[in-house]
Amino acid sequence: MIEWVGAIVQGTLLGGLYALFAAGLSLIFGVMRLVNIAHGDFIVLSAYLGLSTTLIIGFHPFLALLVVIPVMAGLGYGLQRGVLNRTLGNDILPPLLVTFGLSVIIQNALLEGYSADPQKLNGGAIETASLSLGGLAIGVLPLLTFAIAVAVIAGLQWVFYRTSMGRGFRAVSDNQEIAQLMGLNKAHVFGLAMALALGVSAIAGVLLGVRTSFDPSIGGGRLIFGFEAVIIGGLGNLWGTLVGGVILGVAQTLGAKIDPGWQLLSGHIAFLIVLAIRPNGLFPRVDH
């Protein structure tokens, strides 16, 4: 019995990581209706940037975030202004295919630069530290990851609803033309949104790298987890995305408990069940 409770707790904490994968995806879809197929590859790229930072400067992976977040945010802004803004319009094909091309480029650039060997970020003592709670051992790292996920989502909510940048996001999301008339530069606003999204991906990538080993090919899988969390939680609802991540994580750990081969499959099945009975997700945003 306690094992099952343990699996549910593990899954819940894993869900925090999935929510971090999903938050960036959800943010840019909300602001500019763009689905970034390369999102998972940006997460993996962040993990590799973290690796290089720890190896070159000798920083702890968490300290490496001071380098990785600004680099990814800058990359996001540049990419949005230089490439992705040109793909936005009524046709869904250009953004999809361009980000798909980016995904292949990033994946192969990482293969070229770092080889296909699995890598890991060395987090030191925190990786094995655990808290004992009523017979359950809870890892400090998963707990910290979950706490960071909650903080990031709270932070994004605050940015969205309490800052002038967030007002810009909401304005272009509601109506791009009128937002332009009100003096917003939509190209710049989209650039900021992508910078923020990739900044969050940077956090997700480094936490992923400390938690497990990674190689250049795993980006697609991370995109799918993030996407499933978004759809389960309901489009446009960041707290829903966290719940979606938790449901996905719990489904995976419970599946793994039954049979290790069922871990990923049961996550996907949970997603398909939600899609079948609640196509708009569990907590869709209510438009006022």
Partner: protein
């Protein structure tokens, strides 16, 4: 006095038909003039051309952008193995049945993922492909995660000699490409094809004209899935070995196909054919560069999408007003008859 009339064929399309017919005769005769390695390569080209034409029909015309067609490629491959090994089917019969099963399976899949819009539909198709991959990896009778090989007896049932088998496998691939291209062409010339073209150009306008968009898209999805499963069966009949990772590879069966269609020209019949030729020309000259080659391919696709969204064929068509597969209508003036 000259009378205007409406026609679909043009001098270019009639010339293309004649040249295409001659080329087809030459290609059918390939087992008598081409080497073993060349035939293998050409077989692969035909199968990629078929996948590209099918993906183009679905994504370029019906607007169902999928990054999960490897689901049906792998399904077709696995059905070939399962039906021949456990069902005692002849391989060709197994491949045709695989197409039928692919069609049946695609209906519940569509019922689920058609709930997702646009780009989310694309990722939904990828999830389905992952579900297929993980499920087939659980089937220990088919080798589980490590896969299995086609037994020798089944391979021999195709033809007694090795050269006979290679020729048959080549003709099957060529036949599949011809059938797929002809089917796409005839479909687009038909009444339903007209509806589909209308949907491609504007969904709102098309539904205003009384076209049932959901139903038209579903039909395209089911037909594409069935053909894709058949092509998958043929691919793994050439490879003779299957594993979940090879069968449901997003790079091999979707990324390359998307690049082919985008570079050749999405939303045209000629585009995927030209794209396949460009893709293989690049691959044969640059494949030694491995990852760099793939990065260049990705870059070319991005540049094409941004600068020339209708691809290489779109550039040619705009420049010369050509159409090798005439699906549009043209008004022409009949020259005045002599002696009148």
């Amino acid at each position: 006095m000259s009378a205007a009339f409406v026609t679909r064929s043009t001098p270019a399309s009639r010339t293309a038909a004649v040249l295409g017919g001659v080329a087809l005769v030459l290609l059918v005769a390939a087992p008598w003039w081409a080497g073993r390695a060349d035939m293998r390569l050409m077989g692969e080209i035909y199968l990629y051309m078929s996948l590209a034409c099918l993906w183009n029909l679905m994504s370029g015309y019906a607007g169902l952008v999928s990054v999960g067609q490897q689901a049906f490629v792998g399904f077709g491959g696995y059905m070939l193995f399962a039906l021949t090994i456990f069902g005692g089917f002849h391989p060709i019969a197994a491949i045709i049945v695989a197409g039928g099963l692919g069609a049946v399976l695609s209906i519940p899949v569509a019922a689920l993922i058609f709930r997702l819009r646009g780009a989310y539909f694309a990722i939904g198709t990828w999830v389905i492909a992952e579900v297929f991959r993980l499920s087939f990896a659980q089937v220990s009778a088919l080798g589980g995660g490590s896969g299995s090989s086609l037994p020798v007896g089944i391979i021999k049932s195709l033809a007694a000699s090795r050269s006979g088998r290679e020729a048959l496998s080549y003709w099957l691939a060529l036949g599949a490409a011809v059938v797929v291209i002809a089917a796409v062409y005839l479909f687009l010339r038909s009444r339903r094809g007209l509806a589909l073209t209308a949907i491609r150009d504007s969904e709102v306008a098309a539904s205003g004209l009384g076209i049932n968009i959901w139903r038209t898209k579903l039909e395209v999805y089911v037909v594409t899935s069935a053909f894709t499963a058949i092509i998958g069966g043929l691919i793994f009949l050439q490879k003779l070995r299957i594993s979940p990772d090879a069968a449901f590879s997003v790079n091999d069966w979707t990324a390359f196909v998307i690049f082919i269609v985008v570079i050749g020209g999405i939303g045209t019949i000629e585009g995927p054919i030209i794209g396949t030729i460009i893709f293989f020309a690049l691959r044969e000259t640059m494949a030694d560069f491995g990852t760099i080659y793939l990065m260049i391919l990705g870059l070319v696709a991005i540049v094409v999408m941004l600068k020339a969204p209708k691809g290489v064929w779109g550039l040619i068509r705009n420049r010369f007003d050509l159409e090798f597969f005439p699906v549009s209508y043209r008004v022409q003036n009949k020259p005045p008859e002599k002696g009148s």
